[in-house]
Structures are given as C-alpha cells and as structure tokens.
C-alpha cells in the first residue's frame, strides 16, 4: 500500500526516545490499529507506544521532519473513525500514559495524563467526595484524552456542561512538536477550547487540568415510562421550560430498553414505548424533593404510565446500567451498529423523532433510539451486518437522511461523537463555503504540513461528489439592515485594504489605544431587540446591545442569562473576555471576517461538535480575528443564580500573543486589517 518504507530509517531514532519494543511494525500490530469502534478502516505504517508524556514532543518532531502523518489514539472507542490513519503513517498510542498526577480539592482541579480512563478518575475522586462531570456512556473504557479529542458528553452535561466546559488547562504538543500550555482564562483568543473536540487534528494533549466538583449532598433518580414517545418528549420540554435544571434527563425507547435489559425482567409496565430517566441533585434536600414532585406532576399530566423514584442506590445503579448499557447492548441484536448523533433545538425533538422513525421504516431498519433528551441530542442506533452490502447501503442512506433532517430542523450533525471521517460529507450540508474555508484556515495555521490526523473533520473533494446537499438546507440568518451595512462596509474596506478599528460602546477600548490610520467601525448601531426563543431557551442578540439592556429584555420574558453584571456591549464582552466564564453560555456567533465574509458559527443547540469550536476562539479575540455582529446565548428559566461580584482584571488586553495566535492571525487576517495594533509585529 505504501510504496516506500519510510519507517525503517527512523526506527532507531524513535526507539531511542520511547524504548525498544515500543515502535512496532509487525502485521498484527498494524492490523489491530486499522480499525476503531466506527466503520472505517485503514492501515497505519507504524504504531508508537509511549511510556511518558515527555516522549510525545520529540517523537512528533521526528515525524514532522520526515513528513510522516500521525494521529493520537487512546481507547479507540470513538464512533466516527477518528483514529483511522487515512494516510497511513504513525499511530501514537498514548494508552499507557494513565497517571493521575494530582487531585487538588482546594483548587478543584485534577491533573491527569491523557490515558486515564474516565471511570478510573471518578473512582479516584470519590473518596475525596468529588466527581468529574463528563460521563459518557463509554466511561468505563474511554479516556480523558479521547474525551477531550471528541469533546465527549454524557447524561450529566445537561447541568454541568460537556468536556469543554470542564477543562481548565491543557498541555498540548503542536503538530510541529512544540509543547504549549493553554487555559481558556489566558488573555487573548481561547486556544485551549479550540483544541477540545479537534480530534487530534490540531495537536496532542499530554496533560489535562480538569475541573472537579463536590458530589452533591442529595441525588434523586426517577424513571418515568410512557406509552408514547411524543408524550415523553412533551414532558421533557415542560420540565426544562419550567426552569428546572435536572442533573440528567435521558430517554430511551423500547428497543434500546429490551436490549439493555438483556432478558432481565423489565421494571416497567407492558406497553412501555419510552422511558425517561430523570435525576435531580442539590445541597438542599427539601428543594430536591420539591423539584422531584414537580417533575412527577409534569410527567403524570403528560400521560406518564408509571413513575418511580429509585429507593436505593442499587435501584439507581440498575437504571443507569440500563441507560449506559443500551448502546453496547445493541451488539446483541446484530453484529454491527451505526449510531447517529444529531442534535436539534429541544422543542423540535418530537418532530425530529417522528422523522427519524419514518426514515428508519422507509429503509426497513431496526434501530434503538437513545437520547440525551434534555440536550436535544439523538442517538438512533441502527443495527446491521456489514457483510450484507445491501443493508450497509440502506444504513448509510438512512443515516444521511437523519442528519439532513436534524439540519433542517435547525440543529447540527454531531453533539458529542465528532465528525472524523464518517460524517465529513455532512459538513458540506451544515456549513457554507465560508465557514468551511474558515475552519481550513484554522487547521492550516496549526498544521501547515497537514500531518496531524489528516483528512478528518473537514470535507475533502470527493465528499462533495459523494452526496448532494439537499436543497435549501443551510438557511442563513436574516440580518438587520444595520448588520447588513456592517457587512457591506467591511467588504469594501477589505477590497481597498483599509485597516479598521472595531469599536463597541467604548467601555474598555480607549481612544488612545487605537492605532493611527485605522478607521473606526462603530457597532453601536447593532442594537436590535433580542430574538428570544422561549421554548428552546436561547436568544440571539446583536453585538452592540449592552448586556444590561439584553438582560432587561430577557427579564420581561421571564428569563435570564447566567452572567454576572458586567458593563459594555455583548460583542465587546465576548471579544475582550473580561469574564472568561462567558463561554459557558455562549452558543453561537455571527462574525464578519477581514475579507468581509459572514460566518455563522455554532448554533442554537447546547451541544455541537461539528467543526472546530471557533465560537470560543473568538472569546478574547479583541476584534483582531473578525468582527462579531451577533451572538446566541443559552438562557435559564428559573430564578437567576447568585453571582459573586465580579472584579474585572485591570489590564484586560495585556496579552503576549502565542506563536499560534500569530499564525492564526496570519491565516485569518493576512493583511492585518482588523485592530492592527494588537498584532503589531505581524509583518516580521
């Protein structure tokens, strides 16, 4: 397959770093690393195993110099072909890097190596009374590195966020072998968050500082069974709409349930079509009990047939075993399973489910439906036998149609499993040319040689030919006339090469900072009323709206956004990142690039791992990577939580750009047209 053996010559050098026996090219090793839990396959040329994190950078340097592609691999449980070496090269096997280096309950951080198995970390934290929130169903085997690589989520992310929200800091080896340490709190564009979910295409995580939380005093778990899926979904929408934030709100249909029960007696009445698992937690027993009562009321008035609160730990375990075992249990039904991972805005779940079922029956497929209902994240698990070519075709077609239906409903193609190679095609439907081009520039800034996990995430030429995008899918945001003006103005300036100073309300950016010759672009006009989606609990707001005003509009609607009181416009707050925690509630951005292209990044769903997390990259970008014209936030319905008075850092723009910041700037704004004083040294 590979004409020349490019490995033999490097072997001694590599072995000098990782030790003998850790650079393997035997046939069995090659075969065993040519698959993962997804469907794609390709052979690597060499498998390099590490025994210490420090070995990664020098090995990457050697491979980089030799022009050999590489990709990091851990448990290989990802479901999108993320660890398939499409261009051969090296598999970097990090699974022996599994030390938990430090658990610091005072700082609420755990420092771990990437190979630590998620559940092992949980076990280590338990004696201290702490937990790490992301809990993918694969947590028994999947690792922190892999969770970061895919931005994995689990039932608990409804309340506690996905992996990205629970990472404090990362040590990363870049594709050219440099070691970097990035935190989302660092001044400047958020590189750390960009790494999360980048599937090994931007760098390799060698150490992670994770946020840990005290285990809540009271946890109550209930299960509710329904005779119709629609009723179950109604209950979900109402629970969330009521302002409750359950610790988890999961759903499964009867096929999944049967598979997971594996012949054990079902605890639910006959005729059960859908089961919800609802878990509440808190430090106040009375409040938890009260909320549980509310949930029960909502369920019974939504047609719930059977509601039961788990009486003891063992019953609770049983429920979770059924939920978390539902995917692997599909293996009982047929030898192969393809799981889709689309997300839709929560209120559209019933529609999405109906369409999914129609598609499945059209293609005569058996599937278990399993989903993170609270997040609107759906997993139809289609079972088949890959040895049956016809069936494989039907599965693939059905999968694509399901993704298209999610996009059409305003959702996205992956909530947590990643794009890898298997959903690459669908990126063409979700994003326009401009967004894909933007992602490509990010990739090139990090990995100009294209060696880090090549051909993943971003569609390649053959994908466009593979499957036509459905007409009218990517509906663009409707811009206000003021916003239109901003876009047009920037397009003009891009053409003439005129530098721009992006100014908001002038809260932080003082006039004397603005470099001479840069023409101000006033965003104050972007001040339309926020578009609030009451049911989905999201709002789109234009960049020039002051946070206070945004908050007031939300309040009128009985809603709020969980942010401390901050001065300045929404756009300015994002760009200056004076409050780093803002990223937790930021779902989407509309940005105009230096070329005058309008980008729609992120979306209206709480989970989205399709493409790079550029939304977070703009946090702290200080107007130098693009002009933010609107943002979409996640809202909450209940009473506003307490926020400690927030002390703004004095020198908010005192930041030493990292080499990667510079490279990104060069890729995104080669003419240094936007806020040119920030990257003064760019020309050199």
């Amino acid at each position: 397959m590979f004409k020349t053996d490019r490995i033999s010559a490097l072997k001694p050098e590599l072995e000098a770093i990782v030790g003998e026996g850790n650079v393997r090219t035997e046939e069995a090793e090659i075969l065993a690393y040519s698959y993962d839990a997804g469907m794609a396959k390709a052979r690597p040329e060499v498998v390099i195993a590490f025994t210490a994190p420090e070995q990664v950078a020098p090995v990457v340097k050697i491979l980089h110099k030799a022009g050999i592609p590489f990709l990091p691999r851990l448990a290989g449980t990802n479901l999108s072909g993320g660890t398939i070496p499409l261009k051969g090269g090296a598999i970097l096997n990090l699974s022996r890097l599994k030390k938990i280096r430090q658990i610091d309950t005072a700082a609420r951080l755990a420092l771990v190596e990437p190979g630590v198995v998620n559940l092992e970390l949980q076990k280590a934290l338990e004696p201290y009374g702490y937990f790490y929130a992301p809990d993918p169903a694969s947590q028994k085997v999947s690792t922190i590195g892999g969770n970061i690589g895919e931005n994995a989520g689990g039932p608990l992310c409804l309340k506690y966020g996905v992996t990205s929200d629970n990472v404090e800091k990362l040590e990363v080896v870049t594709p050219d072998g440099e070691v970097k340490t990035w935190s989302y709190r660092d001044p400047g564009p958020d590189l750390m968050s960009l790494l999360v979910g980048s599937e090994g295409t931007l760098g390799i995580v060698t150490h992670a500082w994770l946020k840990i939380l005290p285990i809540p005093r009271y946890i109550k778990t209930a299960s509710a069974s329904f005779n119709s899926m629609d009723d179950a979904m109604k209950a979900v929408t109402r629970v969330i709409g009521d302002g409750m934030v359950p610790r988890a709100l999961e759903a499964m249909d009867s096929v999944s349930l049967d598979a997971a029960l594996n012949g054990k007696e079902s605890p639910f009445p006959a005729g059960t079509e859908a089961v919800l698992i609802i878990e509440l937690d808190g430090s106040d027993a009375a409040k938890v009990t009260r909320e549980l009562d509310d949930v029960k009321k909502i369920c019974s008035s939504s047609g719930c047939a059977f509601f039961r609160v788990a009486a003891e730990e063992s019953e609770r375990d049983l429920l979770w075993q059924a939920r978390k075992g539902a995917y692997p249990a599909m293996a009982r039904l047929a030898p192969d399973v393809l799981v889709e991972d689309g997300v839709v805005p929560r209120p559209r779940l019933p529609e999405a489910l109906r369409q999914t079922r129609e598609i499945l029956s059209k293609y005569k497929l058996t599937a278990g439906l399993l989903f993170h209902a609270g997040d609107g994240n759906l997993h139809p698990n289609m079972v088949f036998d890959r040895r049956d070519i016809q069936e494989v075709k039907r599965v693939k077609k059905a999968g694509y149609e399901i993704l298209k239906s999610c996009i059409a409903l305003g959702g996205t193609i992956s909530g947590e499993h990643g794009i890898g190679v298997e959903k690459r095609v669908a990126m063409n439907w979700l994003y326009g040319r401009a967004e894909l081009d933007f992602f490509r520039r990010i990739k090139e800034a990090f990995d100009p040689a294209g060696l880090a996990n090549p051909d993943k995430i971003l569609p390649v030429a053959s994908d466009a030919r593979g499957e036509e995008p459905p007409a009218g899918l990517a509906e663009r945001a409707s811009l206000s006339p003021e916003a239109r003006n901003v876009v047009d103005e920037l397009r003009l300036r891009a053409r003439s090469g005129a530098p721009t100073a992006v100014t908001g309300l002038g809260t932080r950016l003082k006039a004397e900072r603005i470099m001479e010759g840069a023409k101000p672009l006033d965003l104050r006009a972007l001040r339309g009323r926020a578009a609030i989606d009451r049911e989905n609990l999201t709002a789109r707001v234009e960049a020039g709206v002051p946070l206070g005003e945004f908050r007031a509009q939300l309040k009128e609607a009985g809603l709020n956004v969980e942010l401390p009181d901050l001065k300045g416009s929404v756009g300015g707050l994002i760009a200056s990142k004076v409050f780093p925690g803002l990223r937790d509630v930021l779902l989407g951005l509309e940005v105009v690039t230096a070329d005058g292209e309008l980008l729609e990044l992120g979306g209206r769903t709480v989970k989205n791992v399709a493409g790079y997390d550029a939304v977070k990259l703009f946090c702290g970008s200080m107007g130098a990577y693009g002009v933010i014209i609107a943002a979409t936030f996640a809202l909450s319905a209940g009473a506003r939580r307490q926020h400690a008075a927030f002390e703004e850092p004095a020198a908010w723009d005192a930041f030493e750009p990292d080499t990667l910041h510079l490279r990104l700037k060069r890729a995104l704004d080669p003419g240094n047209l936007l806020n040119p004083w920030i990257y003064r040294g760019l020309a050199q």
């Binding site: 035997e26 046939e27 069995a28 090793e29 075969l31 065993a32 690393y33 698959y35 993962d36 839990a37 469907m39 794609a40 396959k41 195993a49 448990a75 290989g76 449980t77 096997n93 699974s95 022996r96 190979g115 198995v117 559940l119 694969s138 028994k140 085997v141 999947s142 598979a259 997971a260 594996n262 075992g325 995917y327 692997p328 249990a329 599909m330 293996a331 009982r332 047929a334 030898p335 192969d336 399973v337 059209k362 293609y363 005569k364 088949f384 036998d385 890959r386 040895r387 049956d388 070519i389 016809q390 069936e391 494989v392 075709k393 039907r394 693939k396 077609k397 593979g466 499957e467």
Partner: protein, 488 residues
C-alpha cells in the same frame, strides 16, 4: 467452512460511495456464514464445529463477527491493561481471528503473540453485552497455529494421561521424588516435568511446599464408604480434578469431608481427567476422548442411581465439563449425552448449602484471620458463580470476611499461562497481590488449582504471613466437629 467467500475490506466504503437511489426492500436476515479461511477443511476435526454462544449456536466466523468493536471489554482484559496494546486485548484478538477467517490476514502465525498471551480468563465476555466468547475464539485461532498441540511433550503427556493414567501418576511421583531428594535440577534435566506437559511444575510444587506421594484418587478408591456397590441412591458423586488429585490431595479430601458433612453420603466417581489439559494444549480430539470416557462413566452410574450431581473442586475443571456440549456440536449421538452430563456438573463453590453452615469456632476463626475471596476466572466468568461462596464465607467468618477489590481480576495463573508467559503473568499477579495487601487479608479463598499455586507463589515472596487456601479446605477447617463447629 467449505466455501471460501471473502468480503473485501472496502465493502463498507463501497456501500457508501456507490449508493444509488433504489431503495432496497429486502430485510436482511442474518444468515449464518460459511466463510472460513482460517484452516483447511481437512483440519476440521481439530476444531470446534460451532460455538455455543449466549446468542445461540454460531459458526466461528459469526461468533467473531458479533463483536462490533465497541471496546467495552478492553478495561476488563488484564493483558490489555498491562500492555496498552490493541493486539493484546480482547477486541484485538477477536478482530485478528476475524481477519484470518475472512482471509484478509493471511497467516495465523502473525497472530501468535496475540493468541498465546490470552489468559482465557473470560473477563472480556463477562463485560461484553453480546457475550462474545473471546476465549473460545482465541482457542480456535490457536488451533490453527502451525504445530500447536503437536509438540512431542504435549502429545506424550496427554496420551499418557489418557491411556495410562497410572503410568502418568508414576512419572509424576518420580518427579516429586527426585525433587524431594534434593535433585530438582536433575528432574528438570531429565525433562520429567516437560514430559508430563507441566514444564513449570517444578516451580509450582515449590510454592506448595510439600507434594503428595499418595494421590487423592488412590486414597478415595480405598474408602469403602465411597464405593457405589451396594447402594441404591447417591446424593453426589465426587469428581477428582487433576489439581486436587495430583497436587493438592488435602483439598480433595476436604471436599469429600464437606460433602459428607452437609450433603449426605455419596461416591467417588473414579474419573478420568476432565480433558482441559488436552484442550488447552490444542489437542481437541484427545479432549473429546476424555469427555466421552467421563460421560460414559456418568451414564453407567446414572443407569443405577438416577440423577445425581457431579461435584468437582477445581473451577477450571468444572467450567470445562459444563461446556462439554460444545465439543460435540457436530456429533448427533454424543451431543445430547454431553449436554446431560454437563447439566449434572456442579462446582463445590456453588454446592455447599450456606444455610446449613454453622458460625465457626473462635479459635479457628482467629487462625484464619481476615478472610477474603478471590473470584477464580473459571468460576465467575466461566460459570457465573459469584454470590454462593460469598454467602457461605460471610456466614462462617462474619466480620472477618472482607471484599477483595477487583476480586475478579485474573491472578495470572490461568492454567499453564504462568509457565508459558512468565513475564506477563507476574505483572498480572502483582496487581492481585497489591489488592490483597490493600485489605490486609490473611486468608485468600480460591476455587481453582492454578489460582492456589499462583497466589501462594506470589504471597510467599511478597507477604509470607498471608496464604491462599482452597474454598473446601477453609470450609472444612472452620466446620470440622473437632473445631467446635459442625452444628448449625
């Protein structure tokens, strides 16, 4: 097995690339596949005709193809956890065998390391929702390895055991004697142990401390109370497993005492080896012959006494006998007979009635110290026995009983594994020892011979104050009438 159908690597990708708009209406029926490129048809006798899996009877290909590569078993696999290498993992082993069956990997020898490092512990199957029978798949792969099961020593040992058990006993005793007289090197040199197919035995009996010069079968045979003659019914029949028979005579005698104490009178079945030794050496046809002889013996007795349980006191042996049916899936005559025999087999671990046990006497308890239970692989993964022995031990030892963390993590003994893969085996053992140390147990209760050897071997070096004992031995000690127990 006969037709050589191969599915190309690209099946799936092709599927997605040349999708046309025709909607295929046929619902796939997962028809059994006959693909088999692993071995030639002439070799079929050396292999299992089919595997009896949790999902029904499957050909090797279908059994291996049931693995959807989810990876859920990986953290249960001791060899993967220690090496971090996919080919040395459960999923890797299944995939390699699958590739061989499909003919996409050409030569079984490429998988030799992967297959020979498997402990056959079955922890992977326990973790797997589809209960993919990895150990059986691995054994099938091993049987396709060139020369596997064909080396002189293995053949000679199995043959002697099969055709001349008394000669086998003689050689073994000779080996022990040479050792006793302080000439162990001579024994090693003479290749006696090798000849017996137990190359590590020299070291093993070192761990045991003393070796029996009268084997259990010889003692039990002489006990008139255990003879079937003159009886009309029996409550049980004792099956002397090789470990207790040839190495741990005390265990065998303790088992018989226990059975008498709590289950009434029974007999010694005068059995042959269960066949596991031959089976694990790759000599399937010999294993079948052992099985047939045991089944015949059982049938003779059953004709007289009707149904009775066959009790074995080594979990490896009991688990293997429970799987006899799988040896005969292509044999219409023997299959039902094997199934009937298998149904009668009980491990002593599940047979002692916990509710009849007394609370043990203080002095005996003190001697035992802190008691913990190690799940022998072939008990927990092989037979699903977990609760019964714990219930009994808790009842006897009360607060002195402690749960062992990761109690079902293999000890690394795994039959001959400790001898063939000493390095990996000792790393597997280390983790077991660390867990034992973490609860400061004095007595580690086990149900299989190889665990007894392996754990004691480890404890002797690391924590000489602790010991591993067989379940039967401890129960016998704690409930012996002279120890003040025996009354419920």
């Amino acid at each position: 097995m006969l037709q050589h159908k191969t599915y190309t690597d690209e099946t799936f990708d092709k599927g997605r690339k040349d999708m046309d708009s025709t909607v295929v209406t046929a619902v796939s029926s997962h028809i059994p596949s006959e693909t088999n490129e692993l071995y030639l048809h002439e070799q079929a006798q050396r292999h299992l005709h089919s595997l009896l899996t949790d999902l029904g009877e499957r050909g090797l290909y279908d059994a291996a193809a049931q693995c959807n590569r989810c990876g859920y078993c990986e953290t249960s696999c001791p060899t993967y956890m220690l090496t971090g290498r996919e080919p040395i993992s459960a999923r890797g082993r299944n995939q390699l065998v699958r590739l061989l069956v499909e003919g996409r990997a050409k030569d079984p020898s490429i998988a030799a390391e992967s297959l020979s490092t498997c402990l056959l512990c079955g922890a992977c199957s326990s973790a797997c929702y589809a209960k993919v029978p990895t150990p059986d798949i691995v054994l099938e792969g091993r049987r396709a390895l060139d020369g596997y099961g064909d080396n002189f020593f293995a053949r000679a040992a199995v043959k002697t055991l099969l055709d001349a058990p008394r000669l086998f006993a003689f050689w073994l005793k000779l080996g022990y004697l040479v050792k006793k007289t302080g000439l162990p090197r001579l024994a090693a040199k003479l290749g006696i142990y090798d000849f017996l197919g137990m190359p590590g035995l020299a070291e093993a009996e070192g761990a045991v401390g003393h070796v029996p010069l009268r084997f259990a079968a010889e003692i039990l045979r002489k006990d008139p109370a255990l003879h079937p003659q003159g009886r009309t019914s029996v409550n049980w029949a004792y099956f002397a497993a090789c470990g207790p028979n040839y190495l741990f005579t005390d265990v065998a005698l303790a088992t018989v005492r226990l059975l008498r104490r709590y289950s009434g009178e029974g007999i010694f079945i005068e059995n042959q080896c269960c066949g596991l030794l031959a089976h694990n050496y790759g000599r399937l046809e010999d294993a079948r012959e052992f099985a047939r002889r045991n089944i015949l013996r059982y049938e003779e007795l059953k004709a007289v006494f009707g149904d009775f349980p066959v009790i074995a006191d080594c979990s490896s042996c009991a688990a293997f006998m429970k799987s006899y049916e799988q040896l005969f899936t292509a044999d219409a005559d023997w299959r039902p007979r094997a199934a009937a025999f298998a149904a009668a087999v009980k491990d002593i671990l599940e047979f002692v009635p916990a509710d009849k046990l007394p609370h043990a006497a203080q002095a005996e308890l003190e001697k035992a110290g802190k008691v913990t239970y190690h799940d022998s692989c072939r008990a927990c993964h092989g037979q699903g026995i977990r609760q019964e022995p714990r219930t009994a031990l808790r009842r006897l030892a009360g607060k002195r009983y402690t749960e062992l963390p990761e109690s079902d993590w293999c000890c690394g003994g795994a039959g001959a594994f400790a001898f063939t893969q000493p390095e990996l085996s000792s790393r597997v053992l280390d983790r077991k020892l660390r867990n034992i140390a973490s609860v400061q147990a004095d007595t580690v209760v086990v149900g299989a011979t190889s665990c007894l050897i392996q754990i004691n071997h480890g404890l002797k070096a690391a924590f000489p104050s602790a010991r591993a004992v067989h379940y039967s031995s401890l129960l016998d000690e704690l409930t012996a009438p002279e120890a003040g127990g025996g009354h419920s």
